[in-house]
Point group: C2
């Protein structure tokens, strides 16, 4: 039924995912970047409905109970979730839906929509580079930075579960690789047509 | 250890695999097209060491016993195999190795070299188109054509095991999709580097 395709991106906070997507956006065609719902406080400059949908823990729980999330997870004491409705709408319109979710979220998407899903793990070239980027951002407390680094060490063990790994040493190279990954993801758009095709073949 | 990557192509004889590769060859960079070893008789115009390595059943059996094949299979009463040595040589040189093998062969490559393997199933747009192409080729007896069509019906059931499906309705479109698939396959070249990278991260 769905005519679009899904591209899951994971990787540590500070890996440069947004920068890479922006650098590649002219070449990857129309896409819908899935906006997560979160219970965490907005950082300076973050806008509701642009960076995240910011909600209370109560509202989040209600959505969980009503089955409105494709996936949700707790990270550093806050909840993050992906609402199903905008995803289905974008897929129906034949768009490429890009997710920025964690390792657990990726596993869930694989379970539910494996046929039309492609995934890439995006990572800084080293732990040191990650630390520098997190500090340069100046948005996190020291304890949050330490937690993010520990989390990154744990997440990178799951890199083998992803179709592709993009090591972000230079934005140019990473964006070029990302364009290939996005185009490859789009090739899965026709999976429903393929099923019809096979039925026709087998008569 | 291997620095290259593998691209497996499967699909019915007559799907247009060679035509697509030729149409795309300027854009996919340097590659090694794996030449199969076979016990079948050469067709008119086929050259030993170019289209196939043509060998006797005795020589083929000897290679099987010595473990010299990555995979081998019996198709329509003839044997086809893929020798390991030229593959390893090409991978060591960092090349993309392209295989034209059947569904069974793909399963074996997946088992042995999954990390660096990408796969695509290439198929004509319909059973009728396949039949027309096989007849236009004028190289097969009627009984072989009938067998090839039955074989195609059986192989297409495995289409879901492949990373990509390319429906060859026009050579231009199929070649364009093939370029994306080949570029995606090349992104797996760095898997060994990635492993080193993860070890370094986890210190």
């Amino acid at each position: 039924m769905q005519k679009g395709a899904i591209l899951v991106l994971s990787g540590p906070s500070g890996a440069g995912k947004s920068t890479i997507i922006n650098a590649a956006s002219d070449e990857i065609g129309e896409y819908y970047f899935s906006i997560s719902t979160t219970t965490r406080e907005p950082r300076e400059g973050e806008q509701d409905g642009v960076d995240y949908f910011f909600v209370t823990k109560g509202a989040f729980s209600k959505d969980v109970l009503q089955g409105n999330f494709l996936e949700y997870a707790e990270v550093h004491g806050n909840y993050y979730g992906t609402s199903l409705k905008p995803i289905y709408d974008a897929l129906d319109q034949g768009k490429l839906v890009i997710f920025d979710i964690d390792v657990q979220g990726h596993r869930l998407v694989r379970k539910k929509m494996n046929d039309i899903t492609t995934s890439a793990f995006i990572t800084p070239p080293s732990l040191q580079a990650l630390e520098e980027r997190l500090r340069a951002r100046c948005t996190d407390d020291e304890s949050v930075i330490v937690q993010r680094i520990e989390n990154a060490k744990s997440e990178i063990k799951a890199v083998g579960e992803y179709d592709f790994t993009i090591i972000n040493d230079t934005v140019e190279k990473a964006a070029k690789e990302f364009v290939i990954v996005a185009k490859a993801a789009r090739l899965k758009q026709s999976r429903e047509d393929e099923k019809k095709f096979i039925v026709e073949w087998l008569g």
